[in-house]
C-alpha cells in the first residue's frame, strides 16, 4: 500500500494531525482555518452531489454515473489552486473539479441523462467538457498551453487523467510535446488504483510519477486524499508553468471507493479489505478531524455545510427532472458550423418525413 508519507507529499495525516514538517507547507501559508473549512465544504458538497447523482441513476433518471467517491481531496485541492483564467481538460470523473470551476451541478448530468453530449460552454468556466476517450484530453491541454504560450499569456492549462490512462500513447505523446516546447501545462494524474477492473500494477510496475523524469519534466507524488497537500503541490506546478518553466506531472495517490460507474460491480474483482483500508484515509473525515482539533469545525458549522449540501442536492434533483428532451431535428445542429449541402439535404428530408406523422394514423403494433 503506497500510503507511506515518506513516498509522497502529505501535510495532514490520515488521522487528522498536521506535523508541519514538509517543505510544501511554504505553498499554503496563506491558507487559514476558514479557508480549510471552505475546502471541507467543497468536499462535502461534491460528495453529496455524487451520492445524489448515484441515486438518480438508481432511480432510472440517469443512464449512468461515474462516482468520484474517495477522490474529493484530489479534485478539490487541485481545482482550488487554479485561477479563473486557467483552463481544465479533464476526463469523465472530474465532477469535483467542475464544481470548483463554478459549473452548475445539473450541467454535469446532461451527458449521463443523454440529453446532450456535453453540459456546458467550456469558455464560460475555463473547463472543457468531459472526455471519454482515455487520455485524448492530455493532448488538447498541451495544445491549449502552446496557444497560451504563443499569446504570451500566463494562463496555465491543467489536464486530469487516471492511472489507466498513463498507458495510452496519447498521454506519452502529450508529455513529449509539453516537454519539448516547455508548454505551461500541468499533468494531474489521479491514481485511484483502478482502471475499471484492472489494478494500477497492470499499467505500471513503477510508480507513475517516475514517468515524468524520462520525459524531461519534474514529477511530484502527493497524498491525493490530503486536500491541503494537493493544493500545495498544484500551486507549485502552476507557478512553474506560469513563470515559463514548463510542465509538471503530479501523481495524486487516491482511491476509487465506489464502482467504476454505476454499471460496474467491483466485488467481482477486488477485495473488501482493500476498500476498508482506504476508508481509514477518507479525505473528508481526515480534514474534518483536523478542523475539529483546531476548533474551526463545530457542530454548528458542520450543520450549515450539510444544509448547503442538501440544498445543492435538492436543486440537482429538481434540475435533473426538469432537463428538457432535445428536439429530433437538433440531431443536425452544430455538426458543421457552416452550411453543408449533404447534411442540409438529410435534414430537409427528415423534417418532411417527421411532418408526415403529424397527420398520419398510428401504425399497428408489430408482432415480434
Amino acid at each position: 500500500m503506497p500510503d507511506d508519507a515518506a513516498e509522497f507529499v502529505q501535510l495532514i495525516t490520515a488521522d487528522g494531525s498536521r506535523p508541519s514538517t514538509s517543505l510544501f507547507e511554504a505553498w499554503v501559508t496563506d491558507i487559514d482555518d476558514a479557508q480549510l473549512v471552505a475546502r471541507y465544504e467543497d468536499m462535502v458538497v461534491v460528495r453529496r452531489i455524487d451520492v445524489e447523482a448515484t441515486a438518480l441513476q438508481r432511480q432510472g433518471q440517469l443512464a449512468l454515473w461515474p462516482p468520484l467517491l474517495g477522490q474529493e481531496a484530489a479534485q478539490v485541492g487541485s481545482a482550488r489552486a487554479l485561477e479563473d483564467k486557467d483552463f481544465v481538460f479533464a476526463s469523465y470523473r472530474e465532477n469535483g473539479v467542475a464544481y470548483c470551476r463554478g459549473i452548475p451541478a445539473v450541467d454535469l448530468l446532461k451527458v449521463w441523462r443523454g440529453t446532450s453530449q456535453s453540459g456546458w460552454n467550456p469558455y464560460d468556466f475555463g473547463m472543457a467538457t468531459p472526455q471519454i476517450i482515455i487520455g485524448a484530453q492530455t493532448l488538447h491541454a498541451t495544445g491549449y498551453a502552446l496557444g497560451m504560450q504563443n499569446d504570451r499569456s500566463d494562463v496555465v492549462s491543467v489536464t486530469y487523467f487516471g492511472d489507466g490512462a498513463t498507458s495510452e500513447g496519447d498521454v506519452s505523446e502529450a508529455m513529449v510535446f509539453a516537454s519539448t516546447f516547455k508548454a505551461p501545462v500541468v499533468f494531474f494524474c489521479q491514481n485511484n488504483h483502478w482502471a475499471i477492473s484492472e489494478p494500477v500494477g497492470l499499467q505500471s510496475k513503477e510508480q507513475l510519477v517516475n514517468r515524468a523524469a524520462g520525459f524531461g519534466m519534474p514529477g511530484v507524488r502527493v497524498d491525493g486524499n490530503d486536500v491541503l497537500a494537493v493544493l500545495a503541490v498544484t500551486r507549485e506546478a502552476l507557478e512553474r508553468a506560469r513563470r515559463g518553466d514548463g510542465p509538471t506531472f503530479i501523481e495524486a495517490v487516491t482511491y476509487r471507493m465506489g464502482p467504476h460507474t454505476t454499471a460496474d460491480d467491483p466485488t467481482r474483482y477486488r477485495e473488501p479489505a482493500e476498500l476498508a483500508e482506504w476508508a481509514q484515509r477518507d479525505p473528508i473525515a481526515r480534514l474534518g478531524a483536523y478542523l475539529r482539533s483546531t476548533g474551526a469545525l463545530t457542530d454548528e458549522v458542520a450543520g450549515t455545510i450539510d444544509e448547503t449540501a442538501d440544498r445543492v442536492a435538492a436543486e440537482l434533483r429538481a434540475g435533473c427532472l426538469a432537463l428538457p428532451d432535445p428536439e429530433p431535428l437538433s440531431l443536425f445542429e452544430h455538426v458543421y458550423s457552416e452550411p453543408h449541402r449533404g447534411l442540409d439535404r438529410q435534414r430537409d428530408h427528415y423534417a418532411r418525413y417527421l411532418a408526415m406523422f403529424e397527420t398520419a394514423p398510428t401504425r399497428p403494433a408489430v408482432q415480434s
Binding site: 495510452e168 477492473s197 474483482y269 408489430v366
Partner: protein, 339 residues
C-alpha cells in the same frame, strides 16, 4: 445434435470457449476481459478455465493490443482481441490497417495474421458518447481485412469460431443491442466447413422487394417484413453476415427476383456500407432494377446523445418508409410521398 437456447452474448462466449479448447494457440487479449469477464461478460469464466496467459488483461492501450497481437501472430499464436467499445477502436487504426491488414501481402505470404478483432458495436442501448459507433465501413475499405457481423446466437457461435479459424484477419462486429436476445444454438455446427462467415443468409423469402441488412438491424428488417406482409407486400430479408467481402451473388440473386432493394444500417449514409452495396447491386442488376437502391441509414452526424438516438437510428417506420420508396408508392403510413 446438441441444441441449446442461449443469448447471443453467451453464444459468443461458448464459441470462444470451443475455439480455445480446439486450439491452444488461441489467446484472448483486451481490457477487463479477465477477472471481470469483459464489461459485457463475453469472456466470463474463460480466464478461470484457461489461465491468465491465454486470457490476458492488457494495459489501456488499443494500439498496443493490436500491435502486440501482430507479434503474437508472428510467433504462431491466434490472438482474439477485444476492443471494449466501437468508439475505442480508432487508436488502433494504424496497427489494424497498416500492419494487421498488410503483413501477409508485405511478406509475400510468409507471415499470416490469424487475428480476430471483436468489436461490440452500434447504438440502441442509450449509451454515452463513443459507445454506439458503427465503424465497419472503415475496415471494409482497408484491403487485407475481412469484416463480419452477426445478428443471432447461432451465427454468433458459428461465425466467431470461423473467424478465429481463418488465417486472415477478421473484424467481428457484435451488435450490442442484441446481446441479450435468445435463440437456439446447435453446438455441433462448428468446425465443419467454412460457410456461415463467408455467405449471406436469406432470413425470410419474398417476391416484391429485398431488404439487405446486418448486425443489430436485421431484426428491424424482419419486423418491417412482417408489417409489410399485412399490407400485401412480400419482402425478402437478407442478413449479410460477411461485410467484406460482400456475398453479392446472394444479394444479386434476390434483387434480380424482386427488382427492388432497401439497404439498412446504423452507420452514416455517406461512405457507409450501403453505398458499396447499392453500387455493387446496380452494377450487377441494372436491367432488373425497377427503382434505385434505397438506403435507410443513420444520418451523417456524430452519434447523437442517447435521448436522440431513436431518431437517428433506422427504426421500423423508417424501414417501412424505405420500402414504400423502393416500391414507388406513397408512404404506406401517411399516404404522403417524399422524394
Amino acid at each position: 445434435m446438441t441444441s441449446q437456447v442461449m443469448t447471443l452474448s453467451k453464444a459468443i462466449n461458448a464459441g470462444l470457449r470451443q475455439a480455445m479448447t480446439d486450439d491452444d494457440r488461441v489467446i484472448l487479449m483486451g481490457e477487463d476481459i479477465g477477472k471481470l469477464g469483459g464489461v459485457y461478460r463475453i469472456t466470463e469464466g474463460l480466464q478461470d478455465s484457461f489461465g491468465e496467459r491465454r486470457v490476458m488483461d492488457t494495459p489501456l492501450a488499443e494500439s498496443a493490443i493490436l500491435g502486440t497481437a501482430v507479434g503474437l501472430a508472428y510467433a504462431g499464436f491466434r490472438p482474439v482481441c477485444e476492443i471494449q467499445f466501437d468508439g475505442f477502436i480508432y487508436p488502433a487504426f494504424d496497427q489494424i490497417v497498416s500492419q494487421v491488414a498488410r503483413m501477409h501481402a508485405r511478406t509475400a505470404g510468409a507471415v499470416t495474421m490469424p487475428i480476430t478483432i471483436r468489436v461490440p458495436f452500434g447504438g440502441g442501448i442509450g449509451a454515452a458518447e463513443h459507445h454506439s459507433d458503427s465503424p465497419e465501413a472503415y475496415f471494409m475499405h482497408a484491403s487485407g481485412l475481412r469484416v463480419v457481423s452477426v445478428s443471432n446466437p447461432q451465427d454468433a457461435y458459428t461465425v466467431i469460431q470461423e473467424a478465429i479459424a481463418s488465417n486472415d484477419p477478421v473484424l467481428f462486429f457484435e451488435p450490442k443491442r442484441r446481446y441479450h436476445v435468445k435463440g437456439d444454438v446447435e453446438l455441433e455446427s462448428s468446425g465443419q466447413g467454412r460457410n456461415a462467415m463467408d455467405t449471406a443468409r436469406v432470413v425470410s423469402e419474398g417476391r416484391d422487394v429485398t431488404i439487405v441488412s446486418y448486425g443489430g438491424l436485421v431484426q428491424v428488417a424482419v419486423e418491417a417484413a412482417q408489417v409489410a406482409s399485412t399490407e400485401g407486400v412480400s419482402v425478402e430479408v437478407i442478413d449479410l453476415r460477411s461485410l467484406a467481402p460482400i456475398d453479392f451473388e446472394a444479394v444479386a440473386n434476390s434483387v434480380r427476383k424482386t427488382g427492388r432493394v432497401v439497404i439498412v444500417h446504423e452507420a452514416a449514409e455517406s461512405g457507409g456500407l450501403g453505398a458499396e452495396i447499392a453500387a455493387g447491386i446496380t452494377e450487377r442488376c441494372f436491367y432488373s432494377l425497377n427503382h434505385a437502391p434505397v438506403r435507410v441509414t443513420g444520418f451523417d452526424i456524430p452519434f447523437p446523445p442517447a435521448k436522440l438516438e431513436k431518431y437517428h437510428l433506422p427504426d421500423l417506420d423508417r424501414v417501412l418508409d424505405g420500402l414504400d420508396r423502393a416500391l414507388d408508392r406513397p408512404n404506406s403510413l401517411s399516404g404522403l410521398e417524399i422524394s
